[in-house]
């Protein structure tokens, strides 16, 4: 079953940990979908791009939304167009094939070269969604009753699936995947990631910003901890704003770039300065609901 070793090594614009690289290669070799979880902004989506770049393959992205149905990934039968054509068009409606539009999965199966297929944010869809794809992902083929055709993958695509853990995924689905949780990068790893985006950052600024960033992350009960993409944006803001590195820790400039929730801003200000105390207590009634 194992496929000859293709070795994913990471790419210049994407920093990959040994752990993650390992999991990618295991999934490729075992020909199993790789399920990636991790905090928002930890590079889940970008991983697929990096794999495609590194292996020189085409990337096909299937973005999942709450209304996405598994069927759409295979094919859609455009009955409305056919109806329309039968009433007003001159084209031949007896050729059903014309009205079958392949979805992303179908597309990935039909391309002659192997591809990387990214099923992004699978947890957005209905609870049943992953189960509906079990067979197709296992067999890498599906049947179109309307045209009596079976579409089979010429080359098994490398399937990367990401999830933000909005819903639990069904066990039957999980059993068929290789799983990897992208741990939040430690400062050392983070410096490498930052260097990809801001190669010429002043050392002192980076140092102070990183310390502040990890300090903020360590504060418990934040609703949304700042993550990689926010750090990258924040550094940008600090540079553009010409902020004095020595002021970063005490002034927390552009804090809104890091923290997107008002409650979180309050919590931080409260913990750091003992200010805004009254605000925290009054703003959200629920905060003190149980304190008597």
């Amino acid at each position: 079953m194992a496929r000859k070793a293709v070795d994913y090594k990471g790419s210049s614009d994407y920093i990959v940990s040994d752990e993650l690289r390992n999991s990618v290669n295991i999934a490729i070799a075992l020909q199993k979908p790789l399920l990636i979880k991790g905090e928002p902004g930890t590079g889940k989506t970008m991983l697929a791009q990096s794999i495609a770049d590194s292996l020189g393959l085409k990337l096909i992205i299937w973005n999942i939304k709450s209304t996405t149905k598994a069927q759409e990934g295979l094919y859609v039968y455009d009955t409305v167009q056919r109806l329309y054509d039968s009433q007003f068009g001159e084209s031949d409606v007896s050729d059903i094939k014309k009205y079958i539009k392949l979805g992303k999965l179908g597309e990935a199966f039909l391309t002659s070269d192997p591809v990387v297929l990214l099923i992004d944010e699978i947890d957005k869809a209905d609870l049943e969604f992953p189960n509906d794809l079990l067979w197709e992902l296992d067999q890498m083929s599906f049947y179109i009753p309307e045209t009596r055709e079976t579409i089979t993958a010429a080359n098994r695509p490398i399937v990367i699936i990401t999830s933000n853990a909005e819903k639990e995924l069904p066990d039957a689905f999980l059993r068929r995947c290789i799983f990897h949780y992208i741990a939040f990068p430690d400062p050392e790893g983070m410096e490498k990631i930052v260097a990809v985006h801001h190669p010429r950052l002043e050392k002192r600024l980076l140092e102070q910003a990183m310390e502040t960033f990890y300090m903020l992350r360590s504060i418990s009960n934040l609703q949304k901890r700042p993550s990689t993409s926010e750090l990258i944006d924040w550094l940008q803001a600090l540079v553009i704003g010409g902020i004095n590195p020595n002021k970063i820790k005490q002034d927390l400039p552009y804090l809104g770039v890091l923290l997107k929730k008002n409650e979180d801003l309050d919590i931080i200000l409260n913990q750091l300065h003992g200010k805004a105390q009254s605000r925290v207590q009054n703003a959200k009634g629920s905060f003190n609901r149980y304190r008597y």
């Binding site: 079953m1 853990a165 949780y181 609901r289 304190r291």
Partner: protein, 402 residues
């Protein structure tokens, strides 16, 4: 030997299916573990563990199993030995069970000693007791960091070291997590109405098109009954004095429930320590703003999923006696326990969530009332895992024994 690793994983609460185990074997045979224990560690984890919530268990299992191996350069003998062996038996034999139990006793003693020694050295915040209790007969991290030699490359840590660091501890679902995780758990509380009753109000596009097509284009509309979540929730929260210590946790649940917009109906009431004649509209339990418990019992049908959140800790008379109510100036004819029984009898789908971790239920001041109430309501601790279990219980009628 390999079998033993399999059982160690199981003992630590990692569900491993036959298919996954076989996939691991295939991968090992294909040489995918490389030639190091570290490679083996990552391979096993990638293939066998399907949620970050189990990473920590896996680390513990791994560390406990390999703890006594000095990290060698190559793949340890032990693993090669396994590969010669058969697949694990999937059934647990009597002998095996006996074996395990014996092991447990010895382990348990040793563990206790270790723990006591440890607790003298550093403060562990009690978490380890909570984290591992119950799940595993080997519920300890019996690795010996001192005995691990990091071989060759100093930058890459040995697998046992990595495992021993327990980086993923915070993802354990049996420890309390935030609002978001609660929300995710609550989403499972859904039950779609059948398409058998109700008005047909939704245009069924597919069927309409089908019908119209088969009519050679003459429009025929087909209507469907909409499917919606039929779950109704009644949430009762204790806001008594002893709940103060759990305010953050309860707030998180409260927020999560409030944000869950998938319930057909959500009603929230408060009580003080125990439920008596009145249920209050806000957490201050002000005596002017309440609904009679009788009214709730009469008005809300037994379809409502009843979730009670409270520490169930009170003086025994508050629960057992008429007049036991803690409020000055109030009197109850019926003891609290009668009210609880009536609630339970009426609401067949009901659970009690206790913010006190389960391991402490037998050791707290409230032990007596906790155990009494747990006889009436299925009780779970207010953690993500506890909530998940509770929600499973809310999906089907529980046998009522009151």
């Amino acid at each position: 030997m390999f079998t033993k690793f399999y059982y160690t994983l199981k003992d630590f609460g990692i569900p491993v299916s036959f298919n996954e185990w076989q996939l691991l074997l295939e991968a090992l045979e294909a040489g995918m573990a490389g030639s190091s224990l570290t490679g083996f560690y990552y391979l096993c984890r990638a293939v066998l563990v399907k949620t970050e919530a189990h990473y920590d268990r896996f680390d513990q299992a791994f560390a406990s199993f390999f703890g006594d191996i000095e990290t060698p350069e190559g793949l340890p003998e032990k693993i090669w030995e396994w590969l010669d062996k058969e697949l694990p038996e999937m059934e647990v034999s009597e002998a095996m069970r006996a074996n395990h139990q014996q092991l447990d006793l010895e382990e348990l003693k040793r563990m206790l000693e270790e723990r006591l020694a440890e607790q003298n050295e550093e403060h562990h915040g009690g978490n380890r007791w909570i984290g591992t209790g119950g799940t595993s007969p080997f519920g300890h991290s019996g690795y010996h960091p001192g005995g691990i030699r990091i071989g060759g490359n100093t930058r890459s840590l040995s697998a046992v070291k990595v495992a021993g660091m327990r980086k993923y501890q915070e993802f354990r679902t049996d420890e309390t997590l935030g609002v978001r995780q609660f929300q995710v758990a609550l989403r499972k509380l859904r039950q779609f109405t059948t398409r058998l009753d109700g008005a047909r109000t939704e245009l069924d596009l597919e069927a309409t098109i089908d019908k119209t097509c088969s009519n050679a284009g003459r429009l025929e509309l087909v209507w469907e009954r909409p499917r919606e979540n039929g779950i109704k929730v009644l949430l009762l929260m204790d806001s008594g004095g002893s709940m103060v210590s759990y305010s953050r946790l309860c707030n998180q649940l409260f927020t999560a429930v409030n944000r869950s917009n998938h319930f057909k109906d959500l009603k929230i009431f408060y009580f003080h320590n125990c439920i008596y004649d009145w249920l209050y509209h806000d957490p201050s339990c002000s005596l002017t703003d309440y609904t009679e418990t009788d009214y709730v019992l009469k008005t809300y049908d037994s379809d409502y999923r009843l979730i009670i959140v409270g520490d169930a800790s009170m003086s025994s008379y508050e629960l057992m006696r008429a007049g036991g109510i803690i409020e000055w100036g109030l009197y109850n004819d019926k003891p609290g326990i009668d009210w609880l029984r009536r609630m339970r009898q009426h609401f067949e789908y009901s659970v009690w969530l206790n913010p006190i971790p389960k391991n402490y239920w037998n050791w707290m001041e409230g032990t007596f009332t906790i155990s009494k109430i747990a006889e009436i309501f299925p009780m779970e601790s207010l953690t993500v895992e506890g909530l998940e279990t509770a929600i499973n219980k809310l999906r089907s009628r529980q046998a009522v024994q009151v």
